[in-house]
């Protein structure tokens, strides 16, 4: 190796603590990028492959009067149809710990001949006999029952019956049961009959033979088939065309991962700023050596190459540390997301492009950042380099800032000098402030968004003044039942509502929705309520709330609103499949609701010819605690059972809160992890800058000591300087965090609720960041301050 490169190696190893900090700064960014992108790459690939492995139906047609074998055969022969199967999905209830929880029962035609929306057999039976069922692997978390156990199931029209769990399957097309707080089971038609249901298969699952990726073609094909079905005397209730080839959570995951990727690059850029500031100070420290090297024959190019080689070594070490670590974290990351999305990771290989991006960004970005100080440093003239004694004195005397500070008589002399010192190297100060402020801003943003998310979730309770939502299978006469519930001990208010799945009627003669097979994701519901209501506190964003019973007013929530709809528009919505015309009078912002249209119960009942009847009960308790709601909901269930009222689902509001919170758990947790990384890079930056500031003033400190400054005075001077920089950065960080929090709140709110999160300032975040910066500044300065005092005055004066 050339002699000159020994210098680089020795420089790196002789100042290893400083260089370790540089390595850490680069490594953190590369690590973040690798963890996120690695996790993203695997999840993205597995999400698609898992979902596609179920061979999802391109479309589903809900046929009201059942699908016979003969009809299925005819559909299979219909032009443009590749595969057709018949299914039924029934929403039932299961008894867990004396409480009823929702369960989705997927009724299969033939377990041995499944070709569409399939699942993967994990254990036990593959073809459940009558009275038995298979369960989705995530169901036990909600069911508290496993293979071999029995569980009480009650369907809308049947009595509670004990069903054996005989096998377990994995259905990647479904979100985890614990996330939806519902069980999933697969049964035969015989079992459904045993459970007391008379309904037949009503879902035609279809895959088309061509253009399967064109929504337009799918819609056209669905309409052609529906026309044929109608002509042949069948009633088409709904056409479901979920987004093509996309997992129900695909768009949310993409958005979330894109946020993380941006954060990771920000960490790398922050790390690179740190490298740039450190390289700038390193060049200052090395300036005399550069002068000497140029004196003995080194050209600017040769010198620049040396320092660029130094950065290369730092980058390579950083990559060597961060790439393997990031792969471990990526594995943890994709495993967690896989759990959240009910995915099975079949191939855990991280694609080559991930380390390639890490390598290129981990070398290119620090190189670009360090290039300016390195080139400037290596081009310095020999005389200037040899005359260098550390901090340059130009523009020091008489600058407006120095003059201004001299007028602050109320400050001690030491603090005034600290202030001046802090502002001596303006370019470096700006970079340090930028680094700390960016770190602080992102830290505060992460906690602000996390708190805003929590706050938004709490709006679930603010908007819903009821605590229990009971959906019935059949409409009942409301008055007597509602009165009985109202006088129950602990019940504040009870109201009878109605509801229907709905969709906007467009050019098509059919109701076309984007609903997934779980019937939850992508659904649109019409809720009919008595006016005025005492149990809903809607957040009106435009127009006004429903105020005239019997009118055709409709209020849409943000999930039901599209860009075209505006106040005063007339909108055609279906009720039980039949179109009805409504006037939009308001828009609301609901937290945790699917697309909903609110209408007057009176009007709804009139259109539906169900006057005096309701299909939904909403009950508010005096005490809103979870424990109280649990007790009361059991009493309510018992009452309904006594009245022989068939309940479709009974959901306490706290359960909804838990389900929504679980959906974005990964985002909030990861934001906090990012915040910690930011805090780490920011503190490293401050440590680096202050220690460099002190190092290059060693001679000056020697002079101060020679003229009588005590070690305590020197220490205070340096510590105050660090604290000043830290405090300024906090103010900037706070201002920037407001903007970032607003933007992130808009973004995250939109992908999850289609409404921005309220801008929230986390006092805790500010307090933590202040402590981090103050402690960090103190720690960052105390070591260089001690070092300054350990060096003898003679050594300090001789320091070059």
């Amino acid at each position: 190796m050339k002699t000159r490169y020994w210098k680089v190696i020795r420089d790196l190893t002789s100042d290893y603590s400083k260089n370790l900090m540089l390595v850490l700064a680069i490594a953190l960014g590369v690590f973040g990028i690798g963890s996120i992108l690695g996790g993203y790459a695997v999840v993205n690939r597995e999400m698609t492959s898992n979902y596609m492995s179920t061979s999802p139906a391109s479309l589903t047609i809900e046929v009201e009067d059942g699908i016979s074998t003969g009809l299925l055969d005819s559909v299979r022969k219909f032009p443009g149809i590749k595969v057709a199967e018949r299914r039924a999905t029934v929403g039932g209830r299961m008894k867990v710990d004396d409480r009823w929880y929702p369960i989705l029962l997927f009724v299969m035609d033939d377990f041995n001949q499944l070709t569409l929306n399939t699942f993967h057999h994990l254990s036990g039976a593959t073809d459940p006999v009558e009275g038995a069922m298979l369960i989705e692997r995530t169901s036990p978390s909600v069911m508290d029952a496993y293979e071999g156990d029995k569980i009480i199931i009650r369907t809308p029209n049947g009595e509670p019956q004990s069903i054996s769990i005989v096998g377990t399957v994995h259905d990647p097309g479904l979100p985890p049961a614990w996330q939806e707080q519902a069980g999933y089971a697969y049964i035969s038609m015989a079992t459904l009959k045993q459970l007391g249901e008379t309904q037949d298969f009503d879902l035609l699952r279809i895959q088309v033979s061509e253009n399967e990726n064109s929504r337009e073609h799918l819609t056209k094909q669905a309409e052609l088939l529906s026309d044929w079905l109608t002509k042949n005397g069948h009633t088409v209730h709904e056409i479901q065309i979920p987004p093509i080839g996309m997992h129900p959570h695909q768009s949310q995951m993409n958005a979330v991962l894109s946020i993380f990727t941006v954060f990771s690059f920000m960490i790398l850029i922050l790390g690179s700023i740190l490298v740039a500031t450190s390289m700038a100070t390193l060049m200052v420290k090395q300036v005399r050596q550069i002068g000497v090297m140029k004196t003995i024959g080194g050209t600017s190019f040769q010198v620049a190459k040396l320092y660029l080689f130094m950065i290369l070594v730092l980058c390579v070490v950083a990559l060597a540390i961060s790439i393997p670590l990031s792969r471990l974290v990526a594995a943890a990351f994709y495993s967690q997301i896989a759990t959240l999305l009910n995915l099975e990771i079949t191939d855990n290989s991280i694609p080559l492009w991930v380390p390639l991006i890490q390598i290129s960004s981990g070398i290119v970005i620090p190189f670009i950042a360090a290039a300016v100080p390195v080139i400037r440093g290596s081009r310095i003239s020999v005389r200037k380099a040899l005359d260098n004694y550390g901090v340059e004195n130009k523009n020091q005397t008489g600058s407006w800032f120095s003059l201004l500070i001299s007028k602050f008589d109320f400050l001690s002399d030491t603090y005034r000098l600290s202030l001046r010192n802090a502002f001596r190297q303006r370019a470096r100060l700006i970079l340090t402030l930028g680094l700390l402020a960016a770190g602080g801003a992102m830290f505060m943003t992460a906690l602000n968004v996390s708190e805003a998310w929590d706050k938004n979730l709490k709006r679930i309770y603010v908007q819903r003044l009821y605590d229990q939502d009971v959906k019935l299978n059949d409409r009942i006469n409301s008055d007597s039942l509602v009165n009985r519930i109202s006088i129950m001990d602990g019940v504040k208010v009870a109201e009878g509502w109605d509801y229907s799945a709905t969709s906007e009627v467009k050019e098509s003669d059919y109701e076309i929705t984007r609903t997934y097979p779980d019937k939850g994701h992508g659904s649109f519901v019409m809720q009919a309520l008595p006016l005025p209501t005492q149990i809903l506190n809607p957040t009106i964003t435009e127009g006004h709330w429903l105020n005239t019973p019997g009118s055709n007013e409709v209020v849409l929530n943000q999930m039901a609103r599209n860009e075209r709809t505006k106040l005063g528009d007339m909108i055609a919505l279906t009720i039980e499949g039949k179109p009805s015309l409504w006037k939009i009078t308001g828009f609301t912002e609901d937290v945790g609701s699917s697309a909903t249209a609110y209408v007057s119960l009176e009007t709804f009942s009139k259109i539906n010819s169900t006057q005096g009847k309701v299909k939904m009960l909403r009950v508010a308790y005096h005490d809103r605690s979870r424990d109280f709601a649990s007790v009361k909901s059991k009493e309510l269930d018992r009452l309904l059972e006594q009245q022989q009222i068939s309940v479709s689902s009974s959901t306490p509001v706290w359960l909804l809160h838990s389900a929504v919170a679980a959906h974005m758990k990964v985002l909030v947790n990861s934001l906090l992890a990012m915040a910690i990384l930011m805090a780490l890079v920011g503190t490293l930056g401050l440590m680096s800058t202050v220690s460099m500031n002190v190092l290059e003033r060693t001679r000056e400190i020697g002079v101060m000591r020679a003229i009588g400054a005590t070690p305590l005075k020197i220490r205070n001077l340096i510590v105050w300087e660090g604290l000043t920089v830290g405090v300024i950065s906090i103010v900037i960080a706070f201002a920037v965090s407001l903007l970032l929090s607003w933007y992130m709140g808009e973004f995250i709110g939109h992908i999850s609720f289609r409404t921005p999160l309220t801008l929230t300032i986390s006092v805790l975040a500010i307090a933590i960041w202040i402590v981090i910066i103050l402690v960090g500044s103190y720690v960052a300065t105390i070591f260089p301050a001690r070092r300054a005092n350990v060096v003898t005055t003679r050594e300090a004066l001789a320091y070059e």
Partner: protein, 234 residues
């Protein structure tokens, strides 16, 4: 008979060097002309701020004149670019500093090998051998594998002289090379410079040390940027 001017190794012709300072323009050298032959040990003397270091910087190509020309060994130094100057200086001028300026993270041997590396002046295999020979010449061969900080001031200055000789330059310049050494060590260093001059090198030293005047063949006295004496034996 050859024109004596052609035998001059260093020639400065009407050199002026002006610096811009807070109070305006400052002439560090004012219309200086000078000719130094090969193989001489020359002293530059003068008070602090008189311009002697500037003169040394001009001769070594560390600085360029504002006016006038500088010819060293037939090369017009002021016409060279920064990059050309670095290579030229590495091969033609050995510089010795008051504070030695050895690179702290290189061993003594590596410090001496570094100019050969930068200038690519000797085959790689010969560099170590040559560096050791130079260290032997300045009597610190046994210190070759030590780092500068572990050596005494005198030893460090000997190493710096060995480094200055690495590329076998015809000119050695030294700026107060004994300013940081005790008199005993300073004497040894001056003897070393004297021997270098005897071996054909032109050695120019800025010094305040009157005790060592006997070592010099000539002296250039400088005051307020002007040479105030004539070279006696030039």
């Amino acid at each position: 008979m050859e024109n004596p001017k052609n035998q001059m190794l260093i020639q400065l012709s009407r050199v002026t060097k002006t610096f811009t300072v807070a109070s305006g323009q400052f002439k560090a050298l004012n219309d200086v002309s000078l000719a130094i032959p090969k193989g001489k040990l020359i002293a530059i003397t003068g008070k602090s701020g008189s311009g002697k270091s500037t003169l040394l910087n001009i001769i070594s190509g560390i600085d360029k004149p504002t006016e006038g020309s500088v010819s060293i060994n037939g090369i017009q130094v002021e016409k060279l670019s920064e990059s050309e100057l670095a290579s030229w200086r590495g091969k033609n001028v050995g510089v010795v500093f008051q504070f030695f300026q050895l690179l702290p993270t290189l061993t003594i041997l590596e410090n001496v090998m570094l100019p050969m590396d930068f200038c690519n002046s000797y085959p790689k295999k010969e560099r170590k051998e040559r560096a050791l020979a130079l260290l032997e010449r300045v009597n610190i061969k046994e210190q070759a594998d030590k780092f500068p900080a572990t050596l005494s001031g005198g030893q460090q200055q000997r190493a710096a002289i060995a480094r200055a000789l690495a590329n076998d330059p015809p000119v050695i310049i030294a700026d107060e090379p004994t300013g940081n050494l005790d008199s005993h060590t300073a004497t040894a260093i001056f003897e070393l410079f004297s021997s270098l001059a005897q071996s054909g090198k032109t050695v120019i030293i800025v010094t305040h040390e009157k005790d060592f005047a006997s070592y010099f063949e000539d002296m250039i006295a400088i005051s307020d940027g002007r040479i105030v004496n004539e070279l006696v034996n030039a």
